[in-house]
Amino acid sequence: MAVSNLIARPSRGWMIVLRVVIVVAATLGVMFLLGINIFSSFPSFWRGTLGNPYSLAMTLTVTAVITLTAAAALIPFRAGFVNLGGEGQLVAGAIGATVVALTIGDPGSVWVAILCVIVAVIAGALWAGIGSFLYERFGANEVISTLMLNFVAFTIAEWITSSVWPDKVAPQTRPFPDGTDFPLFGKFGSAPWAVLFAVIVWALAWWLIQRTNFGFRIKATGESPMASLRFGYAPVRTRVISVLLGGAAAGLAGAVLILVVNRALVQDISQSYGYVGIAAALLIGLRPALLPLGAIAFAMITVGGNTLAAVAKVSPAVSLVAVSVCVLLLLATRSRRGGS
């Protein structure tokens, strides 16, 4: 309970500004420590993120994915459920989409792609539902269960890529048949579809949390389950639904990665986007309206970091290190506001 009480509270405007500053400073700090010259590398950073259509498409897609995984953290967090399983829920969604694409892949029909998305959303929600069930039924700590379920999902993905539909060369499934995808937009490929999904989820998350009675019950449950029970907000049901919605968003992120980026289930499909989403949600102080802001910040770090790493010939893990440092700093800036 202590952890969730700490996290369920949204934060004030200046805290968010402080966090953005922290994230930027931490990223630059990590780069600097790894011997990357921040100033002379800026042109490469620009080219690698926004400077040309291909990198712009990549950055937009990653932004969309992180928006979705941030929603996967944000909605359950607001209900007091610390969902660290965005990663596993994303993988579950990707597996769902893969199963559809490789079993009933019917070339030339956009309906297959739509079905992939639907199945991915359901798979993500169900995967989150396991953690939710363990929490509600047995009181299992959700931080641990959702985190551990990530590894279960990775292992299943590994089994599928290595044993069920293995590719002949790469550590991935065989590529999806043509036609199981969305119409392309020239140089931007199918990135606009990713953006469309993210915008829809963003709008829905904002509307649900800030403009519905149910949203008030989510926030109320996160802050005080006892008072929520008293006022008839059905806190258990509210929390379960929030977790399922979060899982669905992560599942959708998995579908986006499969259909837009990889066109196959690759072994490290998630690229830690699930964890990055948590960082993004914390960065924006769990305010749904700011979802894309947090996502853009971290997309720039991940995509730009990868570019810089390539230029400076250091490990691409540099962006992950930066993100991890950010998460630690963000957790440290969550103030414990004492009662008066």
Binding site: R211, A220, F231, G339
Partner: protein, 513 residues
């Protein structure tokens, strides 16, 4: 205005023109206070008068922005509470700072100054043990704090301060949770300590206590000291010093006399028959209690804290399971949850505001509207910023004098007293059959209490049955038509107010029957 009979001596503790500013708020504005050894000094004032800020500066928790604090005439900077303790200043908070699962001895030893990793010698332990025995705690190494009654814990808190050498004791609202006999006992202890040469400061808003027990009185209003004198002034002078607002001063007298409206009683609305509550530790907390409340009647539940009143009130509100029968207008509600009881016409202000009544990070408006968010469809929305909604909320805030009237503000930004007013306002607004009020005036000043009482009188006129739980005997006699005295989970006394006396009820509260 200051008639200082003790002029010759320097005060044990003195604040001179002390100022503390929080943002735009001048919480203390050139406040002066002199406390002499050998006196019980009452500091009174309404909510937000600046009493607590002053005490926090005197005990080193806050540092003044301007002004001087002196001890025995020597200016002294108290940078933190440890320095205040080292200088002989001890503060008893409203919420006790003890560890319930530790023994008295261990709790005492925790306060002994020194590093966290120090090792206590056996002689230190023996000395502490002997000290507590002398203070009247028989087996301090084998008794846990949680086994003590509330007033005993408070007595222990005072002993603790004496052990570390406190000669100036500051008590913040020490009688909020005590019964009349315990209050008397506390003040006689404080008088003894004063006679031994200690300086005692009591922060309170119970005027009766000020009149009965204080040698000197300082009144604060709006962050300033407005009166400081030997002996208590007559009540009208005291009230006008506290509130300044002559027009509303008579509220206190109204509070004393106003229950004539309750003469015409209606049918039985709430019928409680043989209810018992088992605590989570397996102890019987409420033992076979029965009573009825009629339309337009106020039942005052009164008892010393911890005699089952909380369990009784919570079980009536549906927050605590119980056995026995509870009917509301003939409908059996014993098995219903809190929301279903709300729909049946029951409203409740609980004792534990933070746990049951409010969402601190939600806005004031949302907190007033909480019942609305359950009823309508999930995807509908009661917009707390909508025009009619804001008007409705603003009315409630005005009526119960919640300040500031800012529906959009987070509830946590309001002071505790204002949060309490908002909650009481929410529950008393609208149609209802039964209103349960647990300590509705706790932490409120005289004006706040008067507003709530006035509202309850109008509820009575409309035929609402009211159950009002209080630990304050005087309050019980003012509000209640019928008094239910709880002692050790049982109904020790159930009596019409007009056919009993303070003495009889006080005796029942202490189990002397």
């Amino acid at each position: 205005m200051m008639t200082d009979s003790q002029m010759g001596r320097a005060p044990a503790l003195q604040a001179s023109d002390v100022t503390k500013v929080f943002g735009d708020l001048r919480a203390n504005d050139s406040v002066s206070l002199s406390v002499f050894a050998g006196e019980v000094h009452a500091v009174v004032g309404e909510n937000g008068a600046g009493k607590t800020t002053l005490m926090r500066m005197l005990s080193g928790e806050l540092q003044p922005d301007a002004g001087v604090i002196s001890l025995d005439g020597v200016p002294k900077t108290l940078r933190n509470p440890q320095e205040a303790v080292a200088s002989g200043i001890g503060l008893v908070h409203q919420h006790y700072s003890v560890i319930p699962d530790f023994s008295l001895l261990d709790n005492l030893l925790l306060t002994v100054p020194g590093g966290s990793f120090r090792r206590l010698t056996n002689s230190q332990r023996r000395q502490a043990l002997q000290f507590l025995r002398d203070e009247g705690f028989p087996a301090p190494d084998r008794t846990l704090i949680k086994e003590l009654a509330v007033d005993e814990v408070q007595r222990f808190e005072i002993s603790k301060l004496l052990y570390v050498g406190a000669r100036i004791l500051i008590l913040d609202e020490p009688t909020a949770v005590l019964g009349p006999i315990e209050i008397d006992r506390l003040y006689s202890r404080l008088a003894d300590l004063a006679n031994e040469g200690k300086a005692i400061v009591v922060i309170t808003h119970k005027l009766r206590e000020v009149e009965r027990y204080a040698q000197r009185v300082t009144v604060m209003r709006g962050g300033r000291t407005v009166l400081s004198q030997d002996s208590c002034p007559p009540r009208p002078a005291l009230l006008s010093a506290m509130f300044g607002d002559e027009a509303r001063i008579h509220a206190e007298e109204e509070l004393e006399t106003a229950s004539a409206a309750a003469e015409r009683l209606g049918d039985v609305v709430l019928d409680v028959s043989g209810i018992s509550v088992l605590g989570s530790d397996g102890r019987l907390r409420v033992d076979d209690v029965s009573f009825t409340v009629r339309a337009g009647q106020v039942l005052a539940v009164v008892g010393v804290e911890g005699n089952g009143q909380t369990y009784l009130m919570d079980s009536l509100a549906g927050l605590q399971s119980c056995t026995g029968e509870v009917t509301l207008n003939g409908k059996d509600i014993a098995q219903l949850g809190p929301r279903e009881r709300y729909e049946a016409g029951l409203r409740a202000v609980t004792e534990d505001r933070l746990k049951w009544d409010v969402f601190r990070s939600a806005s004031v408006s949302e907190n007033v509207l909480v019942h609305e968010y359950a009823g309508r469809g999930s995807l509908g929305y009661v917009n707390p910023r909508g025009k009619t909604v804001v008007e409705l909320v603003t009315d409630v805030l005005h009526k119960f004098d919640v300040r500031p009237v800012a529906p959009k503000l987070a509830l946590s930004k309001l002071s505790g007293g204002n949060q309490q007013r908002a909650v009481v306002g929410r529950e008393s607004t609208g149609e209802k059959a039964v209103l349960l009020l647990s300590h509705p005036t706790r932490g409120l000043d005289v004006m706040g209490a008067a507003i709530i009482l006035e509202d309850v009188r109008s509820q009575q006129a409309q035929g609402t049955a009211v159950v009002w739980n209080t630990a304050d005997l005087d309050e019980a006699f003012v509000v209640g038509d019928v008094l239910l005295v709880m002692f050790q989970g049982r109904a020790a006394l159930l009596v019409d107010r007009r056919s009993t006396s303070h003495e009889v009820v006080a005796a029942a509260m202490s189990g002397a029957n």
